[in-house]
Symmetry: C2
Subunit: 572 residues, 2 copies
């Protein structure tokens, strides 16, 4: 492609309303343009990247044995009523009526449509397993769309749906998709992790998210330094500290702590190691328990994990902290002075708390703490559970290595739905026993347009995007210097462009009448991996100059006649 | 692809609600399934065809120098107000509001969005010419969607928009797209015609429609037997008959015709050749003329062409026939007895009528006709114009050959818009003279999903679809007979499947445990071009059997070891 016949649309300035780097760079590199809030036009070089992601995803999902179909963007509302999701989705589900006042929605996902298709088309277990997918426009009417295509309203998604006769079949379909996702993200050259995820409100039995690691990620994931183990930080198990609890060495004493309402103040004012402090948090108890309050204890340097806590039978769903008023009514002291000693409420201690000795905690009297508390001697240890969020350096629950925390951007999700949808929609087949058997479903998504943004969040520098080879809009940039004055440079550039193109390489030939600096910075901004500079000075020495986008400033002289082979070797 | 791992979804019965053959066959061959009125899911084999059409279109439009982008399906309503099209489109333009009550539409086309993009991105004539296109989902809320994907509400369309500095530039862009369309339809193996079309209400300066010829087509096109000339039948010029008008041989006589209210009755009752009769039609006159009525004369065997008539300055826009009441008020006779002799109104005669002699027409007295009328002697010939629709055998207006009429399905349209949109949306660039110059636009569409249906309307027989090679969902079908009993057949089929697949050929391997008859009829229904039959009996003779979908019942024996090369040669 010649830049003179192309629509580059690069910008020098960073647009004001772009908060994150991928959004800024996609605008500056001319990849996208905003049409309205959360609606973007993919410009030529952006679309080239989007199509590359699409192609890789399509090929790998095909390899997993899934079959591509294409379902409409417009879906009848009545299908969403069948599963009850019309309510659950809330205003993100965009509804409208057609000219005959029949209600429809813009597809945010397609479980209902595909399940309705399968219940009509499939009637015997012999037609299973079946995995149907599409790469199609989706729409979610986000309350606050932002970050460009990272959280747009209209976006491109690969969504797959597997149908099996039983749990074993579902497990096999799920694993095939897990493998396909890894193959796809590997091919894209991204640093990513499949992480165990919470199955949450949908209530399926297993779920993994696929995260592209990037400092700007909204999610935190924990993974082992020595194994494949990775989990959403909310999900990662915090093991009990190794070894026996240390023996008591201090007496328990009550201390006046009028100015220490927080752990930080306590540590600072009393020179107490934070690992020797305990936070006591009061939350609403479940009806089955007593419907009042329950206390949760975590070490001063740890954070309570609400998702883990919510799974305890004693804790109310949804999880809710007690108010100061409720706390005072229950124990007669405020939130700054709570602890397990002389506590009238049931408490549950985190595994790390259970391993502590000689520790400090509130005395359940305003402005008083106990120091030197020891389990058994001063207060009985009750129920112990994993209720904290893991931190960097914790032992990995897989048994190998320690946990490391990194930020990630969720670009994919696989989910064992079980019979959630198939039961509501009565999607079954005749099983080998001749009886109707409700289908076991899995669902699988890759945010195709989001992958483009995530790849940038992971791969950029001050000069712009640094595309992994497989995603770059163009593989090679030819930058001729003063081509419009030097016939020799022009001829050489044209010949190289023709030769590389004939070799099937995607070349962006910058034949604009621009200063070399402008051309370089545009090619760097756009992230073209390989740049070849053609100039009179180097041609005097029989060479072109070569530069890889990831390298520093150094340019490599390559003999003119070897240039095509050099590039081919680089790409091999 | 193995049928055992695929979703064939073929049907034996023709669904009741499918009126036209392509709709019936797409349902029966498992290509599409209806989700709701005018909304279809593309099933695996349908999508394969759709993607082939898309790929060919993309490649040829790229060859024309157009650049691909992707605009959102959801568009802000306010852009449609800028051009005033929000009114014109009527209820076909589906409108809705988002969660913040902002108005949007589902894109039926994208002139507004692309013009808004270009006015922001392009500021100099040096960036021209520019042609931007997309292949994207469109939605038109048809009052009565029907014929499957032929007239669906949601459909896939390639829409391109060219921007030029002047008319010459627009002409060049237009011609490049004309060439690209021909290249695309040629590659698809379709019998089609680019035809001159009416520029109608949009008012551009030139327009061609691309029609796939098929007996079921909604449009009639006229084309020369001896040149490339083709036009929508409404548009084709009807030339004046060659030679001089014949001299009068009859006296004019008034005849009682009480039972002849129509030309057919007149011809039958009075043994008059239909070419010697004239129809006189009264229509509303334009304000500029007199706002009353004007008479239009065409030969008895010809049809008045309303589009041509509407272009006469004497005729009101929109075209409207006079009521019987208005006719009686004007001439004192009813519609069955009108004619040019003794007519108090202005009349305009078709070119063919002007060439007649000794003809019959109404006497403007109920139940009376004149026979033997001759121009000049009995009545003065006034204005003459081309106001009839051409018929089969008319001389071609290009001067070569005669016109032939065929039915066609419109699958593409190219249009010189001029400055219609760019003026309203103020899309201009700095011209070479340093002044703002409004852009000259062209727009170009191909109904990608409609092409699939049109290809079937042109290519089918009693057994199903007959795909042109370039569009077939699979190129080769392997049909092994009794594979599940004969190990030899199974081994041979597996080997052939592996060999053909390795050669990059798209094979559908029917490995189902079905009777051969079921397999054959499914492969024929789906229209796979090449079928290879593997059976014990023919293998005893060292051969497989080969059959092309277009051929009759004959199967060709091909030596087993030559089969792959035979197929490769067929495809070369």
């Amino acid at each position: 492609m010649r830049t003179s016949k192309y629509l580059l649309s690069t910008l020098k300035e960073t647009p004001n309303d772009a908060e994150i780097i991928s959004h800024q760079l996609m605008l500056r590199a001319g990849m996208i343009r905003k049409l309205a809030s959360g609606l973007y036009t993919w410009m030529p070089s952006g679309l080239r990247v989007l199509q590359k992601v699409e192609k890789i995803v399509r090929e790998e999902i095909n390899n997993a044995g899934a079959i591509e179909i294409l379902m409409p963007v417009v879906q009848p509302f009545e299908l969403w009523e069948e599963t009850g999701r019309s309510e659950k989705m809330g205003p993100e589900l965009l509804r409208f009526t057609d000219r005959h006042m029949r209600p429809f929605v813009l597809s945010p996902t397609a479980e209902e449509v595909v399940t309705s298709l399968v219940r009509n088309e499939i009637n015997s277990y012999k037609q299973l397993p079946l995995n149907l997918y599409q790469i199609q426009t989706k729409f979610r009417d986000e309350r606050r769309p932002r970050f460009g295509v990272m959280r747009a309203r209209e976006f491109s998604m690969m969504d797959a749906y597997s149908f099996d006769l039983d749990k074993e079949g579902l497990q096999a379909s799920y694993e095939a998709m897990h493998v396909a996702y890894c193959a796809a993200f590997d091919r894209m050259g991204l640093d990513y992790r499949p992480v165990l995820a919470d199955t949450g409100a949908i209530g399926g039995s297993a779920s993994h998210e696929f995260h592209v690691l990037a400092n700007s990620g909204e999610d935190v994931i924990a993974f082992s330094t020595e194994s494949d183990y990775a989990a959403n930080v909310e999900m990662a198990e915090a093991l009990a500290p190794a070894g026996e609890r240390e023996a008591a060495t201090q007496e328990m004493t009550m201390v006046d702590t009028p100015n220490a309402k927080t752990i930080a103040e306590l540590v600072e004012q009393f020179n107490l190691p934070i690992e020797k402090t305990v936070k006591t948090l009061f939350v609403k108890a479940s009806e089955e328990f007593d419907g009042e309050l329950v206390a949760l204890l975590v070490r001063g340097d740890h954070e309570l994990n609400e998702i883990k806590a919510e799974k305890l039978p004693q804790v109310a769903v949804p999880f809710e902290f007690a108010t100061e008023e409720e706390i005072r009514a229950a124990v007669g002291a405020g939130p700054g002075s709570l602890g397990p000693v002389n506590l009238s409420l049931t408490f549950i201690a985190d595994r790390s708390v259970a391993a502590m000795s000689d520790f400090g905690a509130g005395a359940n009297i305003d402005d008083k703490h106990y120091f030197g508390i020891n389990w058994g001697r001063d207060v009985e240890l009750g129920e112990v559970a994993d209720i904290r969020t893991v931190i960097d350096g914790d032992p990995s629950p897989c048994g190998k290595g320690t946990l490391q925390l990194k930020r990630g951007i969720e670009v994919g999700h696989i989910f064992q739905l079980g019979t959630n949808y198939s039961e509501k929609m009565n999607a079954g087949v005749l099983g080998p026993d001749g009886k109707n058997t409700i289908l076991e479903m899995g669902c699988y998504g890759i945010g195709v347009s989001r992958v483009v943004a995530a790849a940038i969040e992971q791969n950029y520098d001050d000069n712009g995007i640094i595309w992994p080879e497989a995603l770059a809009p163009f593989t090679v940039a030819i930058v001729p210097m003063n081509m419009h004055k030097s016939e020799r440079v022009k001829e050489a550039a044209e010949k190289l462009y023709a030769d590389l193109t004939a070799a099937g390489i995607e070349v962006l030939f910058d034949d604009r009448k621009e200063r070399p600096g402008v051309m370089f910075s545009d090619m760097e901004l756009m992230g073209v991996p390989h740049t070849i500079i053609i100039g009179d000075r180097s041609m005097d020495n029989g060479v072109f100059e070569y530069k890889h986008r990831r390298d520093g400033g150094d340019k490599l002289p390559i003999e003119i006649e070897n240039m095509v082979e050099f590039i081919k070797a680089k790409l091999a």
